[in-house]
């Protein structure tokens, strides 16, 4: 039976985790994601599951590593400064091919910054914020509904590829309350068999979860294995949403909360007869670079709008700058580009000669 409730983005991600069969959560308090931590504590008390409020973010991510190495679905969440601390564990999780779900409800930086929403952790999320050659799958929801749907998906992808999946939310999406519809009777999926998990060496050889090898060629081999996995993900898991691009003279590219503001601007301008459309990456890694490259073949002006000083724009340029002009507008430090400002930037770019 379908159920419709009013819920915040943070809590929706918690509900999704429970419904995805998450059995372990460790999280250290930090604003603006605290509702999620409290939600997990409550939900696990009712549904069964292990909740730990650890001594630090370093411990939290290492606990997720340990729980996931034991074979259960495990998650942690935080906001930007806390996610920086988790980079150590994320690198180890990546090197050891362990599934994990990590939620980042982004706030302004650098440093302690403030608790206002931002998108300035894009580089950290998609380029591998810790040491070594690795990637996470990075999913960027644009609504409370999508925060729920993508969190469930994050668990499936994490298990499928034995990789860390990150939900890149932000302070607006975490705090906003919207309608959420889901199938109330759906049972958590049965996670796939995990023959690699640490469950005791009974009737089998010992399993070892690790990223280290004293032999140099083994670490290189592990890197090649990781790269092979990343190529598979790039070919199968790109997700995006596009509208109004068929006849567009200009395309706005934005993700997350920013895409909603950009969409309002684009829709108003459409009504005034302006040929503008919007392209919204849903997977930030793998990045929809082929789709943007294709778009740049016919839409010659692309405006990237971000709540940052310009991070995703670099990836858009790599994909599209050969054939199209790529412009940028962004605000950072908790500043949020308004619909008016985005409209102004669109009109300015439309008026420019190429």
């Amino acid at each position: 039976m379908k159920r419709k409730i009013l819920i915040s983005g943070n809590e929706a991600m918690g509900e999704a985790a429970i419904r995805a069969g998450c059995r372990f959560y460790a999280g250290y308090p930090i604003t603006p994601q605290n509702e999620l931590t409290a939600y997990m504590a409550n939900a696990f008390q009712k549904a069964g599951g292990i909740f730990i409020q650890p001594e630090s973010e370093l411990a939290a991510i290492s606990m997720v590593y340990g729980a996931s190495a034991s074979g259960v679905r495990a998650m942690t969440s935080s906001s930007s400064p806390g996610i920086s601390l988790k980079q150590e564990g994320i690198s180890y999780i990546s090197g050891a091919h362990i599934p994990a779900v990590i939620i980042n409800v982004m706030r302004a930086g650098p440093g302690l910054g403030n608790i206002w929403p931002a998108q300035s952790d894009y580089f950290q999320a998609v380029k591998g914020g810790g040491h070594g050659d690795y990637h996470m799958i990075v999913l960027a929801p644009g609504s409370v509904q999508e925060s729920f749907d993508l969190t469930k998906l994050a668990f499936d992808l994490a298990d499928k590829y034995r990789i860390a999946s990150m939900i890149l939310s932000d302070g607006i999406l975490g705090q906003i309350m919207e309608a959420l519809e889901f199938d109330d009777e759906s049972k958590p999926p049965q996670p796939p068999e995990k023959p690699w998990a640490l469950t005791g060496a009974k009737d089998r050889k010992p399993n070892i979860v690790r990223s280290l090898s004293m032999k140099r060629d083994e670490v290189e081999k592990n890197n090649l294995l990781l790269q092979k996995k990343y190529r598979r993900i790039e070919s199968a898991e790109v997700r995006f949403e596009a509208s109004g691009l068929k006849d567009a003279a200009l395309a706005v590219v934005a993700y997350g909360s920013m895409s909603r503001i950009a969409k309002s601007a684009v829709e108003s301008l459409r009504k005034q007869g302006k040929k503008v459309g919007i392209f919204r990456p849903i997977t930030l890694w793998p990045f929809p670079k082929k789709q943007l490259e294709k778009l740049s073949g016919k839409t010659k002006k692309i405006l990237v709008v971000e709540m940052s000083c310009g991070q995703m724009v670099e990836d858009v340029r790599l994909a599209a700058a050969k054939s199209a002009t790529v412009g940028f507008y962004g605000r950072s430090g908790g500043g949020i580009p308004t619909e008016k400002q985005v409209t102004r930037e669109i009109l300015k770019m439309l008026a420019q000669k190429r």
């Binding site: 372990f24 292990i50 001594e55 370093l58 340990g66 729980a67 005791g200 979860v209 690790r210």
Partner: protein
Amino acid sequence: MAKNYKRPESLVDVATHYCAGCGHGILHRIVAEVIDELGVREKTIAIAPVGCAVSAYDYWQFDCAEAAHGRALAVATAIKRVQPDKVVFTYQGDGDLAAIGTAETIHAANRGENLTVIFVNNAVYGMTGGQMAPTTLADQKTATTPAGRDVKKEGFPLKISEMLVLLDGVYSVERTSLSTPAGVLVTKKAIKGAFENQIQGKGFSIVEVLSMCPTYWDKSPADSARWIEEVLSQYFKLGKLK
């Protein structure tokens, strides 16, 4: 005549990478013997440290996880919580447990996690070339204290086991030494007790083992054992602390 002394099933039949006179080989064997004697090899999960024993899993025949430097007890906490029926232990050096992992150690202990901790104290960082450890003695020369540890600048050797005694969550704390055959037997008994505590659900049990590092103490194996007897164990007193 019956052959009583044999290789434990939990110990792989390979030469270790440890230096001559190092205590790790003895301690690995003790752990393997205890796991065999308790009949829990098939449900044991170890967490290896970062340090000289980083690849301890090359020598043990049971499941093993690596952890980031200092995070072994966070990893162990999660493994044991998810699988309370398993026997979970960490094997950590002084740098891992008492410097970079101090927070993880104190808080896992304070939560009273039902875990066994084997803490190898050789008063020096071996893996990285003999730098000062939190447990390096006053005036002890290391790669980073060439004139000897100056307690005015570098602080005092950290008595983390004594600190753990104060925590209500901790069930058992014992300090032993590998410097004599008798010490080896005491160590084995203490480690077996720490595992039995976990099996009986009694809670956090730690055995601190004073162990030789001839290479970075710049001593012969025999002199290293003697140094534990005469010097190291005078500061880090042996015995059952809790």
